[in-house]
Symmetry: C2
Subunit: 736 residues, 2 copies
Amino acid sequence: MSEIGAAEPWAVRETGVPDDGELRQRESVFALANGHIGLRGNLDEPEICGMPGTYLNSLFEERDLSYPEEGYAFPKRTETIVDAPNAKPITLTVGGERFDVRTGTVTRHERVLDLRRGTLVREVEWTSPRGVRLSLRTERLVSFTRPSIAAVRYVARADAPLRAESDVRVNEEPPEQRDDPRASEIIPRPFEPVAHDRDALVHRTRRSKISVAAAVAHVGADGIVSSEPDLLRWTAEGHGELRFDKIVAYRWGGDEDVRESALRERDAAVAAGFDVLTDEQCRHLEAFWADADVEIDGDPEVQQAVRFGLFHVLQAGALSVPGPIPAKGLTGNGYDGHTLWDTEIYVLPVLTYTHPEYAERALRWRHHTLGHARDRARELGLAGAAFAWRTITGPECSGYWPAGTAGLHVNADIAGAVLRYHAATGDETFMREAGRELIDETARLWVSVSHLDADGVAHIVGVTGPDEYSALMDDNVYTNLMAQQNLRAAALDQHSLEIADRIAIPYDERHDVHDQSAGFTRLEEWTFPGDRFPLMLHHPYLNLYRRQVVKQADLVLAMLMRGDVFTPEQKRRNFAYYEARTVRDSSLSAPVQAVLAAETGHLSLAHAYLAEAALLDLRGGGESGGDGLHIAACAGAWMALVMGFGGLRDCGGRLSFAPRLAPGLSRLRFRMRWRRARLTVTVTPGEVTYAVRGDAATFGHEGTEVTVADGDSVTFPLTPVEDRPAPPSPRPPAPR
Amino acid sequence: MSEIGAAEPWAVRETGVPDDGELRQRESVFALANGHIGLRGNLDEPEICGMPGTYLNSLFEERDLSYPEEGYAFPKRTETIVDAPNAKPITLTVGGERFDVRTGTVTRHERVLDLRRGTLVREVEWTSPRGVRLSLRTERLVSFTRPSIAAVRYVARADAPLRAESDVRVNEEPPEQRDDPRASEIIPRPFEPVAHDRDALVHRTRRSKISVAAAVAHVGADGIVSSEPDLLRWTAEGHGELRFDKIVAYRWGGDEDVRESALRERDAAVAAGFDVLTDEQCRHLEAFWADADVEIDGDPEVQQAVRFGLFHVLQAGALSVPGPIPAKGLTGNGYDGHTLWDTEIYVLPVLTYTHPEYAERALRWRHHTLGHARDRARELGLAGAAFAWRTITGPECSGYWPAGTAGLHVNADIAGAVLRYHAATGDETFMREAGRELIDETARLWVSVSHLDADGVAHIVGVTGPDEYSALMDDNVYTNLMAQQNLRAAALDQHSLEIADRIAIPYDERHDVHDQSAGFTRLEEWTFPGDRFPLMLHHPYLNLYRRQVVKQADLVLAMLMRGDVFTPEQKRRNFAYYEARTVRDSSLSAPVQAVLAAETGHLSLAHAYLAEAALLDLRGGGESGGDGLHIAACAGAWMALVMGFGGLRDCGGRLSFAPRLAPGLSRLRFRMRWRRARLTVTVTPGEVTYAVRGDAATFGHEGTEVTVADGDSVTFPLTPVEDRPAPPSPRPPAPR
């Protein structure tokens, strides 16, 4: 039994030994990554493991998809994340007894994820069954500054002979998978060996033919090395103290000689030394927090969780070259390691406004997959580009098309992320090289998939919006508004602009609310008879699709992304209507419900949803978090704070704020970048201050345009907002 | 190369040796069956084979279904037809040379399916490579009067030593399957051996644990028998002539000792002898044709094809006990041997009006699956019974739910078939024991799946009608009207009747036509740009679903099944509208288009669609016919004639006629049963005569109620109908 301790502002602390029921979730919480390499937070001793997990961005294996009943253009192959060579295992023997926290007596077991240092420290005091006392300290890092490097410092002390076996293991036996459609398929023994020696193991995936080299060095103690195709083992002995640093370098894919380059990277890291690696890590995080930190006074748990989430967004998104940001980052194998639309809509806003170079690299990765997207559009009988609903390298990997291929909105989401990035940075080089083409090709898709009816109204029919409890709907408001924005930004020709202008936006006059999709508000109501969540595990799509039950923010998300086309009164009515029908069976829901709750004056509810999003992985203990963290929810906590209470909006490329605080919150401060300026926004119950440096910044405050010069600041009294009672909901916010 | 010869009224004749491209289709055409045992029309020599195929009704193996992305209530297992012990192979050696029509010289090769004798006769004149002349005649039958018996008479003559090896083979190597979603999965080696001796082989399917015994006897020549687990071989020799009868008895399933009962059946058949078997067969067919024959003067090809179709409907439906009638009958393994809604809507009308005892047994089989249907309804969160979209013994086996489980209309189709059977026969025993429960339980399903909107209109939302190029639609007219009929027949309570009365029937005022489903006529038009058919093999559902393209009669089928609720003018406009959008990618389409074409005065078009339906399998050479005949299209030819040109309707249990003939047809005569009466209806260009015997009959003629006494007849002048030009169609009727 273990627990995550009381909220600390800059650390997450676990005390006690996690038991079998806790292991998988904690391994996700304590995962370290740098956008390229991800190490789950496994203990050093490999026997005590929920799921091993060493992931290298875009290292995947191909797998055939087969269907009970085939259909044209159903994807025939998928890509699945695989476990890379695992360099975490270190087995320790103390006086002939194997160190195992499930035996003997543990008097101290603590792990600390340090959000400013960027390392995971573990400290153990253990007495062996025969009474030998061991003191162990390990510190693990995955370097933000060296994309190929991971390292651990291992220090064991005991008044007895010590012997460590430090491994790199390949093709390990996989653990049993959960029976959940969101869990990953496991490909057993994905690698064939290519070479092995005392410095490195080289392998290649059997079918996707990706080469991987893991080079390792142990520094600080003498050891002997044995090497076989799937195992490199360094063994060292000592007495009293055994102390060493293990430096691992991974190189994979590409045309290079992976072994050579891994050795080069390893040697450079060895030459620098572990202390330099941690110094670099600290400096990198200092820079990160300077632009990304969010301070929230009045809710220490949320304060900690928001930083924890931002740290994991960084770990998932810290790309040094173009690459995907998977839904689980590199913290687990959930969703097969795929990247979905959450990246553009949930993760990229944070990165765009804090570290836009990462957003750029994620969008350049999308651009790299344009060939696949064009092929897919042709296969679907459409023009332009149809980006994959889920993928690792670009091909469509969705196996259930009504909630995959039919989610065409991903294309407008990508275009929207490009527009946001461009508005925030003014990066014309990116637009010329990638952004413009992304916008134009997705716009061509919308032209080909929409049609003008006899009344001249444009429709997009038979698609699936964000809410996956509705599918193959007509005129999904979110999709149509995002497509409209996409079409207007491309401005391909008169016809395309006409479609944008005439796009159908279904509205139910009787209830005076927008229809999420045409006819939605006329569907049968869901009765919520003692429901178990998520509903999708207990009800057939047949029943979900035909009812007014919403899995996740859809129309409410439209009101965030295209807030400019809704009146405040519409937003209030729509929010109440959809809140009463939204079960939040996706982690993508709470952040957006929080933002619109704040905008519509439900401040305490916004706070509750902020907490639901922020605490989901850190303290929620949700089973699915064991497959990896919900990176979009991590980013969503930032959205809930900055867009919710900060009131940040960026519709049409115009930056604006309308801050408000929930009762009990005494201060919110966030930093962000806008063009060449850096803004610090400080909200208190009485006022808001916008401080600017680097360049002048122009933005809106409560509908008024404000320009603040470099080094200057401006303060406004806060527009008072009365906290409105929460509208009815089928599922109250998750309790703390 | 071979060909099907010119049309003969009572036979189908093939001359020449079918080549590899023809084999599979011909094996279906020449298949023999009796509702229980089906033998594909393979040559005697097993090497020359498109697909072997010996099927025993409801003999299946279980198979797991897995999905790239699982969903709640997706069926986990399916049932697949398996190849039963194959008693067809007879290998002949002539003077030491193997008889093989691919070698030597064939001077004559003819096969005749005799529709009155019920046998398949093969006659061969062959000269071996070394110049020995062989004359071979075989006659094969599957006994209608003895459900367990198949037999062949084998007569070989040559001026040389003759040696025959006559086998029963089990677990044969399967042929390669076509790459088509409608083809079957093949389960290799489905049987485990249980026992073998010189009389019989006994096996059991590995997973479904169904026992099968094949007992065999050879009569008329002495032979030696060898037996091993998967092979029973009888070897005989002769000189000049080798002549024998091979009698095979199959017993399977049930609680009985299958070996014992197979031997008993075999011995009884042996005691009767081959000549008695053929006599019984002739007498049975005489009785069949007396009630079922349709005569059509002016189109000999269609005359032959309609009888061919009726013969195969009999072969598929001649159930001696309750059992399923699969979509392919027992002529092939297409659709995995499953039974679908075609049985109730296409096959049972023919049987109901000609041999109602077979219709009764098919409906009693549905009733036997009621337990599965109730379980399925509960799994779907619905009340009453949800019958399988496709199945062998009852469980839902559909692997693509939008065109499977969502096709809830199958339940109303079953209820409709019960109502038709009851109206036609007045069989109250059946209603008490099975029919009433089928109607009530399906009505409960409709109550639970429909809902009343704020205006008091009842809706059935998110279901799939007959047209599988639309899915998850709202208020499909066919579904709603069939559900209405179902609800009214059940009359469970006031609420259920209210739903029936208030059911939505979408109508497009602008085009003045019914919407196939809500909003259908507002969808984008399909442009038919040089399309290849079937569209489903060349276009994604994403494109098909969102367009006005119709796979098969849907609204048009509603106008047949519920013709009473459409005005003649609506029928004309609807027919023209949907004809222009229907591609007939299902064989279920042409028969219904034919009937409504006739009703709306498109007489030549009706004739063309009649021919398309009738000739599909016999002369169409469609690739998919190699997996088995389209039994619904076989029955559909009868529908096209009797409902089309005969104008038979039975809406609301009232029998009526409105005959008309296409130009070029000089006479149509058909027989049918109604209550205790037998009607013979003779239509000529000038008049129609209704002759009645057995009991008086009351029916409508062109809106006038007529009663004709036993032994009497009545003649009316034919109401003149001008042949209207065919409306535009994306795909003209198949050319002859």
